[in-house]
Point group: C2
Chain length 225, copies 2
């Protein structure tokens, strides 16, 4: 799903979805202008009601210009998604730098804070929940989540000495899915985000990841069946 893709260097590959690399300067402006327009339209009509004509008109361009840069409609959405993910990663880095981290869960909290902040301020940010249900090998949501989990695992291992391993990565994958669902729920109706769900999300993450090492989960397992 959509917290997908923290950190990482494959931003070059992510732009493979543009048809023509911009050569002249105005092209770059066009590109980001198109994405800005798309973001605005996403906020207005949602990202499945969006039409190429809307994007073009909003960007002050013509239909053809959209297709000069993107092979098709969903490529625009993918690009917008990518940009949102990149900005999310940057925000996470900023949050991490601006906070004094006393424990690993402060890092996790920063991730949630970054996500919520962008949801509130970045136009069209709900595109992060965009999930292309077809065989597009690039920018797969699950792959994103998996990648994100691995990166976050590295951070936690290196900064806070959590034990590395597949178990941690799996746990983080699960955590990402849960957080994604709860935060999407928080913003489903409320444009500012339902604080109750946001707070519960933080608590759930902490509880879940902490339980990994506490005997709590194990005692439950022992009484199972």
């Amino acid at each position: 799903m959509s917290l997908g893709g923290l950190l990482g260097e494959e931003t070059g590959a992510a732009l493979q979805q543009v048809r023509t690399e911009p050569i002249q300067q105005r092209s770059a402006a066009r590109l980001s202008g198109l994405l800005d327009a798309a973001a605005a339209v996403v906020d207005e009509v949602g990202f499945d009601r969006i039409t190429t004509a809307m994007i073009a008109e909003r960007a002050g361009a013509s239909i053809g210009t959209v297709y000069r840069y993107y092979p098709d409609r969903v490529a625009v959405l993918h690009a917008l998604h990518e940009r949102a993910v990149v900005r999310f990663r940057q925000r996470v880095v900023d949050e991490l730098g601006a906070s004094t981290l006393t424990s690993w869960w402060d890092a996790v909290d920063c991730v949630v804070t970054a996500f919520v902040g962008l949801y509130r301020s970045e136009p069209g940010f709900r595109i992060v929940n965009f999930d292309d249900r077809d065989g597009a090998p690039i920018a797969d949501a699950v792959a994103d989540a998996d990648f994100f989990a691995r990166r976050l695992a590295e951070v936690l291992v290196n900064e806070f000495d959590l034990p590395a391993g597949d178990e941690l990565i799996f746990r983080l994958e699960v955590a990402v899915e849960m957080a994604d669902a709860l935060l999407a729920r928080a913003f489903h109706t409320d444009p500012v985000g339902d604080e109750r769900f946001i707070a519960e999300c933080r608590l759930v993450l902490r509880n879940y990841l902490d339980g990994f090492y506490s005997p709590h989960a194990l005692s439950l397992l022992a009484t199972a069946s």
Copy 2:
């Protein structure tokens, strides 16, 4: 209230999305036939590649017939979603009846089992993850989750003496969102469902709902900054 209460009484209202209530008998057959066709197509091409022509052809009907019963394409998907939800609730009731419940978490486990079972056997069941991102007030996914949470809360309160209240309902809403996300993840690639995620889902639910009454969450809260 009995376990049968999970079924709810708004099944009549759920059909408001059809244009014309069927009067003659063949109409009812048509309606379910259309949904069966839609379910089959959903499994073949996914629910965003689906076309009205595919549904009509599969059902042995003409295009016009589809539009006689449903105002537009997504209304068909909504109806299919509704039917899936209804069958899910029925399955939950069946599971609950067929199991000997020694504790509330057996009930929760039954819910997971029912969901997984339908994912595996019911054609087009992945429609339950269909989320229309626009202002369709009826058949809203969040409303569904909320409704289900309330019903489940009633069952748990009456059968297992859990303390009723908004807190329990909220907890169940959160649990539903998490379970939904994890199970969707389990079936995202694997048509049989990734057992690792399914098992983790059960564990997470139990841990989370149990933590509600255990001092574990509270101790975490106490150490929060």
